[in-house]
């Protein structure tokens, strides 16, 4: 038996090495952020239905950074990203001669949540969030009464996503305007752990994407956020869409390889399906994200058809309207 098994396996390995590594059906390869994944999954599911098996789409979750590594080596057609491409990734793509088209596909509202039994927070300002989360707060800001006079004498327990996530990166940029937060908070890559943490501790405060708040409204309370002395705005689909929930609304993106978009009609069809208002308005909302305004999808579609390559982001920027971004010329 063992002898037969070894003969078969030797044959298998030989055959595999000599077999051509190509596939019969048209294949669109997508990889990247796990935040964008639910949207791309929904798009892929529906797109495959309309293509009736002619085109297949695969979606991975290597993370925004891991996704760009593959994308800039030309291994994927599309990269999901929960933040704009970074300087180092721009360079990597350039070295490998990969040109890309940057397309915002939805908005996510970072939601600051507290326990429902917390009766002292009616709103929070970005300055107060910064006071809680900045690196200098480590081991110093440990009590709610240090945040605002009038807050009770209670320990402050912080929960947030892991430092590898795009969500964390965006929060740092929008609130701290530095490189990182304090280190002494409870971090988890699984947002459901954060939900449990905040839901079971009166003194807790945490942040994550709107979808996780929406699904757990009974267990959590969202804090309205005020920015630059403006009035406090609650996180919601409407407030993210009309750009009043700032600076914690962020666009999320797909990046499309220009060469494959030019060469492969089925990649082109998938991207056009993705940006079509008839699909995006419905599907993005269904999976718990905020669709862009209709006009923004039209502008993105236009940018794609013109094959406008490059990124419109220059370093860290927060609180810019999506239509303003789309109208910008890339550098």
């Amino acid at each position: 038996m063992l002898k037969r098994a070894s003969a078969v396996s030797a044959f298998a390995v030989l055959a595999a090495i000599s077999a051509p590594m190509i596939h019969a059906a048209d294949l669109v390869k997508v990889d990247g952020s796990s935040t964008v994944f639910p949207i791309t999954e929904a798009m892929a599911e529906e797109f495959q239905k309309t293509e009736k098996g002619k085109t297949q789409v695969t979606v991975g979750i290597s993370g925004t950074g891991g996704g760009f590594k593959k994308f800039c080596r030309g291994e994927t057609d599309i990269s999901d990203a929960s933040r704009p491409i970074k300087e180092s990734e721009v360079k990597l793509c350039k070295e490998n001669g990969i040109e890309y088209i940057e397309l915002p596909v939805a908005l996510d509202a970072l939601t600051v949540v507290i326990n429902p039994k917390n009766d002292w927070v009616d709103r929070l300002s970005v300055e107060e969030l910064k006071k809680m989360w900045e690196p200098a707060a480590q081991d110093k800001i440990t009590n709610w009464n240090q945040i605002r006079p009038g807050f009770p004498d209670r320990p402050l327990k912080l929960f947030g996503p892991g430092t590898d996530s795009g969500t964390y990166d965006y929060f740092v940029e929008a609130v701290i305007e530095g490189k990182s937060t304090r280190g002494d908070f409870t971090a988890s890559e699984d947002d459901n752990v954060l939900v449990q943490g905040v839901a079971s501790d009166v003194n807790a405060l945490g942040f994550f994407g709107l979808a996780y708040y929406d699904e757990n409204q009974g267990k959590l309370k969202a804090a309205p956020i005020s920015w630059k002395g403006g009035k406090a705005v609650s996180p919601s689909v409407e407030n993210a869409k009309n750009a009043s929930y700032q600076p914690l609304s962020r666009p999320i993106f797909i990046y499309v390889n220009k060469k494959t978009a030019d060469e492969k009609a089925y990649v082109r069809r998938f991207v056009e399906f993705y940006l079509d208002n008839r699909n995006s308005q419905k599907l993005v909302k269904e999976v718990g994200y905020v669709p862009l305004p209709e006009k923004a999808y039209d502008m993105a579609m236009n940018n794609f058809k013109k094959r406008q390559t490059g990124t419109v982001f220059h370093g860290s920027e927060v609180g810019i309207g999506i239509e303003e971004l789309l109208a910008r010329a890339p550098k």
Binding site: V13, F37, I61
Partner: protein
């Protein structure tokens, strides 16, 4: 146990020693029993918890024949289950022959020298290396250097590497437990070394080797980290080409170069989704995975039992 020569202890003294030993035996057996029960209870608790949570999906046949979907109630594990099965096939076909051959060589042929010592220490150490390290190795070696891509073949090979030490160690243990008389009888009949190993030692060692192989495979089936590292996908709504076909040459190997996902990755993805309905799917997937693992362990026990009986 120890019989002291010369002076025999007095009768009552002997009795108290025996009583004391019986008592400590009983205590040890009790402790052992409690530890065993705690372990079993933990496993049972996890299993029952998952089964209760995942029940609505477990009894729904669609769960087993549907592809992943954004609608939790329509999402199924088909692509993950097929992916896991095919990856395990590659793993078994690569790891078992290689591991057994290495074990036989080390136990039967290798001369005692410092080189064999180094190899032995390495093999034992490899069994303890975190699985993600194998994933990184495979990403550099199989995916990029050999250009095998993010395929079923790559995943099968990395999991084969992962369980190779387990199989080597099990093979050696099994061979070592064969009585010397069997070998001597074979040599006495004029068999050479390879004939002895092939005709007498390996068949006699088969139960131990198979147990090791299946325990190794049961470990590999639950691994997510190395498979994610080499680039397994999360959403894939089609199956690899089938390994058997109606036209000659009847088998094809295209499936080896197909993209794939496996059950632990599907489970992980569903656990981290915000919608509670996906968590039901995750629990159900956990049950299926545990049943597969327990089934493989059960198979190992059965094979061992059968072969032992046949050997008599």
């Amino acid at each position: 146990m120890a019989s002291s020569p010369g002076k025999q202890p007095a009768q009552p003294e002997l009795e108290s020693i025996v009583r004391g030993n019986r008592r400590s035996d009983l205590v040890m057996a009790g402790i052992g029993m409690i530890v065993l029960l705690v372990a079993m209870a933990l496993l049972a608790a996890v299993f029952i918890d998952l089964a209760v949570k995942g029940w609505p999906r477990l009894i729904n046949p669609d769960f087993y024949i549907n592809f992943p979907s954004r609608h939790p109630e329509q999402a199924g594990i088909l692509s993950a289950a097929v992916g896991t099965t095919l990856v395990m096939l590659v793993t078994a076909l690569v790891a078992i022959p290689l591991g057994v051959a290495a074990g036989v060589y080390l136990e039967e042929y290798a001369a005692r020298s410092w080189i064999t010592d180094v190899i032995e220490i390495n093999v034992s150490n490899l069994a303890g290396v975190p699985s993600i390290i194998y994933g990184l190795l495979a990403l550099g070696l199989f995916v990029h250097a050999f250009g095998l891509g993010e395929t079923i073949l790559t995943a099968g090979l990395v999991l084969a590497l992962l369980i190779l030490p387990v199989i080597i160690v099990a093979t050696r243990e099994a061979i070592r437990s064969i009585p010397l008389e069997l070998r001597e009888a074979a040599y006495g009949l004029g068999a050479d070394k390879w004939q002895t190993v092939r005709l007498y030692v390996l068949p006699a060692a088969r139960p131990g080797i198979l147990t090791g192989a299946i325990v190794g495979l049961a470990r590999a089936i639950g691994e997510a980290a190395p498979v994610i590292t080499i680039g397994a996908l999360t959403f894939i709504a089609f199956l690899p080409p089938p390994p058997v076909q109606a036209q000659p040459p009847f088998i094809n190997f295209e499936w080896l170069s197909s993209p794939f996902t496996v059950m632990p990755i599907q489970l992980f993805n569903w656990v981290s989704r915000p919608q509670a309905e996906f968590h039901i799917n995750a629990a159900a997937t956990g049950v299926v995975l545990m049943v597969m693992t327990l089934g493989m362990n059960g198979l190992a026990i059965y094979i061992r039992y059968r072969l032992r009986r046949d050997a008599r």
